[in-house]
Amino acid sequence: MEQWPPAGDDALLAELGAALLDSGPVPEEFLDTALAAFSWRTVDAGWTVAELTFDSACDLAPAGALRSGGTDRTLTFHGGPVAMEIEVTRTGIVGQLSTGCDGRVSARTPDGRYEDVPMDAMGYFSMGPLPPGPVQFRARTAEYAMVTTWVLLR
């Protein structure tokens, strides 16, 4: 394996220059959004965080799974024993929480805007199209409160 950092001062200086140049001036919006992310730290303390376990955009669909017509993308989140499935279509989002039970689901963006809809007794819910950028879903039923990891739906 090649030696690194390079032994020669000229080569090291060149790499340093590239590293400093690549870092460049960071656009302020990048820093701002990254710094602001911290203010979400305690908002859902105690809620189960559901990880994204399947995304049709980059995972192979499980055998037998069939996308319904008009669905652009399917995502599954798992938080403990509970799963939330989201289907993204041109007209919005339909989803289901695996613990079919009355409750509410909300989706929110990093600047705090959100949509809040009821879930029916089977755990189904639907909402309109969400804005671009990261979103996060929260579901609350009588026994269960979970929040998904942030995800880009586009």
Binding site: G17, A19, D22, S23, L35
Partner: protein, 249 residues
Amino acid sequence: MTPTADAPEGAGPPADPSPAEEVSADPTPAGGPVPGVERASPAELVAAAGAGDERAWAELVRRYTPLVRSVIHAHGLDRADAADVHQTVWLRLVEHLGRLRESAALPAWLVTTTRRECHRLVRLGRRTQPFDPYDDSVDGHVGRLLLVDAASPDEDLLRAERQQALREAFAQLPARCRELLALLAADPPASYREVGDRLGIPIGSVGPTQARCLARLRRCPALAQYVRPPASGAEGTGGDRDGAVAARR
């Protein structure tokens, strides 16, 4: 934009945007290190941020934004997508602070998370933009996609980590060394005469000072960990590199 500006009552995060100004005003370390967080290890910063320390979070953002950006850059996303991925990665890190607390593997986690989000958008882009000016056949798309995915992730990661190590080592240098090296490493580089004028040192001592500063750069912990016995590098797995960067103190 802070998340609190127009948040509905009860839905937004707590209002405290105070750390933003200090850092965004001086994203480069040229102003001299703030005692404390500047020298903290990633693990210490993650632990402190997980406990609610906003200065530790601001330092994580300052220190690792270039790493996240360099991974995003390697995927050729447009600016809006790049900004979305960047924001998503930091939101994810907030969620993961508690789980990363016992691990020093933050840089590797950031690289992996960023890559995954980039891949998502690259694949979505393929579906939502059917017209490829170079090749509009299905095979063309698949080929392009595979190319992106197979773009030697280890090299990407290695390059990003090395650049990060260089920047971290650079940030630990005394201010005069940083100034001198920044001038000499610029493209195009400043001449010895310009450097001498700018720093008020004799032209004859620019060369020796450069050598001393570079030697000092090599000794910084961020770089020193890469210096290993010449014959021991046969394996060179990604895991080794992740560990090497992550274990930095």
